[in-house]
């Protein structure tokens, strides 16, 4: 049992009451628990309480060999699992000095960007549903279904992928996947018009999201906010550009940035990011090199003793694997820096003074995945 402690006992009085939003609540995206102090409908203080889905991935890592941790990675953030999967492989490849064939790098980028699109679709649509529009949610799911079908075709699973291997990927992509991906991109571009009509230009949506839940640049710096939530605050920071990894430098894409820092800005950044992801996928498909998809790597890898920090950009922000190896086949320590952890904590700063409805909108716009926080 978790003991619920109050944020600050002194603030409860005749006007202020306490509301446990979650862990079972329609809009807490899993098992997040927001402890709110309310004065009427105005939030006086807020504290997210996490840990309901803690599975101990970091401890698990210390109890299994390097390869066995691969499936865990995609379960840390189940919505952008492939990106986590890729990141773990790249970190270890860097540590061990394993070469990766170029075709494999391209395939990794294609699948990761598809995964980013599916994650953003779900994130945006769940956020729109939090604001009260249910229909776009199902439109988004309809599109996301196509991504999942495509990814299922190559990776064999729809959500918790384990596709990347040390030194490449599990299997090659075929022509049908490439054609299907192109068809999907064309389709999604067409659907964007609908989304903009239905959501972005909707007057109620604009009224609900403008100047709500503002994260300033200073707050973002203090709390370590990253990802679309940071780029909505006017900071041009994306690990794919600032600290290029894989074959990202070979692609021509932009990092969408909005200045406002409000809920709307974060939504717009995500929408624009999906378009950029589509650009990347198209370029990768056009320039897909031939060759093997996996280099020869021993069955068990023995990384040299040492440590490495490897940062990459998931759909939610900058992820980092800090890996300490003592030269054996079992990791000494794997620390995962998850962006939602920092992004969620900022709520304690930005929620007070807002309405409860705005609190829900802000929570949705930050797009947290609770298992990623709880690890």
């Amino acid at each position: 049992m978790l003991n619920i402690k109050t944020i600050d006992d002194t603030t409860i009085n005749e006007r202020v009451y306490q509301l446990n939003l979650g862990p079972q609540h329609p809009s807490t995206h899993g098992v997040l628990h927001l402890l709110l102090k309310l004065d009427g409908e105005v939030v006086v203080a807020a504290e997210p309480i996490v840990g309901y889905s803690h599975r101990g991935h970091e401890k698990m890592a210390e109890n299994r060999i390097w390869e066995q941790f691969l499936p865990n990675t995609s379960r840390i953030d189940y919505l952008s699992g492939l990106i986590y999967n890729q990141g773990y492989c790249m970190a270890l490849e860097k540590l061990c000095g394993i070469e990766v064939p170029e075709r494999a790098e391209y395939i990794r980028v294609i699948t990761s960007e598809l995964n980013r699109i599916s994650s953003h679709l779900l994130g945006i649509m769940a956020f729109v549903m939090d604001i009260g529009a249910f229909t776009p949610f199902l439109y988004g799911f309809d599109d996301r279904e196509h991504v999942l079908d495509l990814l299922e075709r190559v990776t064999g699973s729809r959500l918790t992928y384990c596709y990347n291997r040390f030194g490449g990927v599990r299997n090659d992509i075929d022509q049908e996947f490439c054609d299907g991906t192109r068809r999907f991109i064309d389709r999604l571009r067409g659907r964007f018009k609908d989304y903009h009509n239905l959501i972005t230009e909707n007057i109620i949506f604009i009224k609900r999201t403008r100047e709500v839940g503002i994260i300033t640049e200073e707050t973002a710096l203090e709390f370590g906010v990253t990802g679309p939530s940071l780029r909505g605050s006017g900071v041009n920071y994306d690990v794919r550009k600032n600290e290029p990894y894989s074959v990202y430098p070979e692609f021509d894409f932009e990092i969408p940035v909005r200045k406002e820092g409000d809920v709307m800005a974060r939504y717009q950044v995500r929408m624009a990011e999906m378009e950029q992801s589509m650009n990347i996928i198209e370029q990768a498909l056009d320039n897909l090199p031939q060759g093997p998809v996996r280099s020869h790597v021993p069955r068990f890898i023995d990384p040299p003793a040492g440590d490495i920090y490897f940062a990459f950009e998931s759909a939610r922000g900058a992820v980092g694997y800090y890996i300490v190896s003592d030269g054996t086949r079992i990791p000494y320590r794997i620390k995962v820096r998850t962006p939602s952890f920092s992004n969620l904590f900022v709520l304690t700063r930005i929620l007070p003074g807002n309405f409860i409805a705005d609190a829900i909108a802000t929570l949705g716009s930050i797009d947290v995945v609770v298992p990623e926080i709880d690890r």
């Binding site: 049992m1 803690h54 203090e222 000494y332």
Partner: protein, 164 residues
């Protein structure tokens, strides 16, 4: 390879860190191999001075973590910046098993949760921390899961026998 701007930034950073932390050992990391440009090694204290220097240079605190080495903990602070040339600085602080380091949460409020997490998993008590309690593990837990003394499973022992 570090670019010109990056080299300049690193040099300036190194100087300001040396001024603030005369007792620390500041070395350049091999970014291509380890993922960080600058490494600050400290013993016991100095995390707050490091944090102040880093914040003055507009770095954000990516994460804090600890590693349980035999005989001591190593606290590792990761700082990174948003601005053009990526430049990651890590500060390693060796502390004794029963030591209580100072919190940096007054400088980076985001560290409140990061330090709570370290307390939760390693049992390291941070001094002056505003709200030090469990975060991911149950509130009434009497264990610190990421200590090397905790929970070595049967499976691990088997793996040890087979592979190592």
């Amino acid at each position: 390879m570090p670019t010109e701007g990056q080299k300049k930034l690193l040099e300036e950073l190194k100087n300001s860190l040396t001024r603030a932390l005369p007792e620390g050992r500041i070395t350049s990391g091999d970014y291509a191999r380890t993922g960080y440009h600058l490494e600050v090694r400290l013993s016991d204290v100095g995390m707050r001075r490091t944090a102040m220097v880093m914040k003055d240079n507009r770095f954000y605190l990516e994460t804090i973590t600890a590693v349980d080495f035999p005989g001591s903990f190593e606290l590792i602070y990761f700082y990174s910046t948003w601005h053009d040339d990526i430049c990651r600085v890590i500060a390693r602080i060796q502390i004794l098993k029963d030591a209580s380091p100072y919190t940096v949460s007054a400088i980076y409020p985001g560290a409140i949760w990061l330090e709570r997490e370290i307390y939760d998993f390693f049992g390291i008590r941070f001094l002056d921390h505003p709200d030090l309690r469990r975060i991911l593990n149950p509130d009434n837990a009497d264990y610190f899961p990421l200590l090397k003394t905790f929970g070595k499973t049967k499976l691990t022992e088997e793996i040890d026998d087979i592979l190592c």
